[in-house]
Symmetry: C2
């Protein structure tokens, strides 16, 4: 391990309670009747903590996926809310970070700043914020709008939102509280700041009604991969969650792109951690991993796969022929959900001809990385060593088995190779990430 | 204890971390440097649980009280956020209810429904919602507005908000989840409901992305004491937090008023619990209690008391003469903060002449009830037996001492008298309150 470089950072991602695969809940090890039991999530977090994961990473959306009937029939549309879940988990874990996905599109920064600061206190410095913008019309309609905000608008709002939240976190200087019973002065008024923000989307006075968080600012994760998303991440993110790729050179280009954007914003490139997603399917042999993936795929009704593709492309493909050449006229600029996912599917179509059936199978399958413990450890270590990643957000196709296998089989190989810590280096998430505690914007 | 009537219900209220008195943090037992430590709140909740309190009751506001400098200098303007705090406390307690104050003025019902449902799952049926409307211009300015909503408007919005939240809680029938690995059906689509609410203030599609809460609907607490507030409570509240009074007959009238309003809304009057606030100062003798209150009052700078009165009356009284007769031209109809508190001060002025100094001292003092363990237990039991209350929300002037004294000295006397339970009757907050689990609006 380089004396300078921080070791590999791992995040344990979770969106569907049963794992990243939409019908992972049907896998043999799955326990779908526990998806609203806190114990289920506590076991997930503790297993990840056994593996010295820097953080759990709770993905989120603000709606039920009912655009197609198959979503309600076969998908998992129930889950605990991230901030309440992580607050409870703060008492059932001791070291692991607690990263909550919170959208900037349908929230108020005063509430978000306050809840994340509160979680940072409850967890003694382990909170993080995964910033997303909300990308579906269904979400808009749960929040008084007819349709989703335009992509560029929601990123402009996102950037303003971050600035307001971080400004609110700085409301109280670190030494503003006096608690002086004798004089009766609880706080030093000169060390309390009124933000008085007036911007394009937000006007927020402040101060926040909680002191500056233990981490100063809980770390900011971002996943936006579009031009607007990457620009925002370069300016503001502490850690970037990227889609991940089999192509090492492409990963290196993306890695350098984020570091360069950070540098151009006057930031230390080391202070932006690039964490590709990785969805491992682990077997004792590659053939066993292949067989595992096949068995997971068999549990996904074709209708679900087709409807997911319809969703990602923003067009109902239900009337198309499944086994004829798939023709699609893309409009990346006009597309208003996740642009990066859309563009990645369009890129596939540029590589060769696909039937619709081949396409949805490919789109679902390419997200998974098959391997043995040795080959996966080697892939992670090499990606890190070759500067295509500072770490990874693991998304487990099925749970709890894939997480357990990863912690038992892959983690020790990373530690043996000297690229992964044998124990937690500190107590706060910033320490796990190798990130300094930021000063206040009001510091002299 | 009557065979029919549910025993006394107690709530352990908390707004200022140091107790209900604004400078309670200066009292000898206070530990002001722990006001952002979870352990401090865990001790509070566990002591209340030792006393079989039905619930902790976390009051809240969405701003720092900096209208006057004395607020920042001498008040406690930092606190954990209620929903994150109570989620953490759900893991450090086993029986006690967890009531979070959440404003309907600057929130989105989808978020509120989801977080409270999530807390209800995390706590296995112990969540509650104390509904408030936000009443100050400072709060408005933290949420993109220039000034607070008009009183009538915020109550109309509050009522619509409750309806939407409860509708979202009913999104999934209690038996909607199938988790059937064999067939691949996770849910029964016919048992999932789209709310499609379109109202004066809110438009919310649904469904909510969490199943129906363990309690069906987490109980709804309300504190509004104005005509609009009482009307809303009569139609919707499971428990009403009233100001409390020394006057038994006045308490009985208010009690009957709430019960009558519930009956007129087609509800069972027993299903609306009337819980006056009570702020006890406990001494072994009345003289000792009087001495305790005097020592608490001495810790409050006169400027703070004056500024609090200015705030409650919505007029800066700083230039007035302290020791001349206080003249005030009230405008209850036009007043736009807490109308009930305002009206109660105006009522005082109708009783006799006050100097300004006498008035602010009286207004602060009248909120406390002095007593011995015997006299306080007798007062509580009598108020309950004479049908002026179904229980009480205790607000402790100083902490942790007043709570400890109450649990140690007053609670056993209530139990001995047969009006208070010797142990928790059940596991959920609805059971503690003696309230049935409500059916879904979609039930046949």
């Amino acid at each position: 391990m380089s004396a300078q470089r921080h070791p590999i950072v791992l995040g344990a991602g979770l969106f569907y309670p049963g794992g990243e695969h939409i019908t992972g809940w049907r896998s043999p090890a799955a326990e779908p009747d526990r998806y609203l039991d806190l114990d289920y999530y506590a076991e997930f977090a503790r297993t990840a903590e056994d593996g010295r994961f820097a953080t759990v990473f709770i993905a989120d959306e603000l709606y039920v996926w009912d655009r197609y009937d198959s979503g309600i029939d076969h998908g998992v549309n129930i889950r605990p809310e991230p901030l309440t879940l992580l607050s409870a988990l703060s008492q059932l874990t001791t070291k692991i970070g607690l990263a909550a996905t919170v959208s900037t599109t349908y929230n108020e920064p005063y509430h978000v700043a306050r809840k994340l600061a509160s979680l940072d206190y409850l967890s003694e410095g382990r909170a993080a914020w995964n910033l997303v913008t909300s990308a579906s019309d269904e979400e808009a309609r749960n929040f008084g709008k007819d349709a989703n905000l335009d992509h560029a608008v929601r990123y402009r709002r996102g950037e303003e939102f971050v600035d307001v939240v971080q400004g609110l976190w700085d409301s109280w200087d670190d030494d503003a509280l006096r608690y002086d019973k004798a004089s009766g002065f609880f706080a030093d008024r000169g060390k309390v700041h009124v933000l008085d923000h007036q911007g394009e989307f937000l006007s927020v006075r402040g101060p926040l009604n909680i002191a500056r968080p233990p981490q100063g600012h809980p770390p900011l994760f971002q996943a936006g991969a579009s031009e607007a998303g990457r620009a925002l991440a370069g300016r503001t993110a502490d850690a970037v969650f990227t889609l991940g790729s089999d192509d090492l050179a492409a990963g290196q280009r993306l890695y350098r792109d984020y570091k360069l954007r950070a540098r151009r914003s006057g930031r230390d490139p080391e202070a932006v951690k690039v964490l590709p997603a990785l969805q491992p399917v682990i077997g004792r042999t590659l053939a066993e991993a292949e067989e595992k993936l096949r068995s997971i795929e068999e549990l996904t009704p074709e209708q679900v796969a087709l409807d997911l593709l319809s969703h990602w492309l923003g067009e109902d493909l239900g009337a198309r022929e499944l086994d004829e050449k798939f023709e699609f006229d893309p409009d990346v600029a006009g597309f208003n959900q996740s642009k990066s996912l859309y563009a990645s599917i369009i890129a596939l179509l540029g590589e060769r001809d696909y039937t619709l059936r081949e396409l949805y199978r490919t789109v679902l399958r390419r997200r998974f990385v098959l391997g043995t413990p040795d080959s996966l450890a080697d892939r992670l270590a090499t990606t890190y060593e070759e500067h295509a990643a500072d770490g990874f957000i693991l998304m487990f196709p099925t749970l709890p088995d894939t997480l357990t296998d990863f912690v038992t089989e892959v983690v020790p190989r990373l530690t043996d190779r000297g690229v992964y810590p044998a124990e937690y280096a500190g107590d706060t998430l910033r320490e796990h990430l190798g990130l300094a505690r930021p000063g206040s914007r009001y510091a002299a």
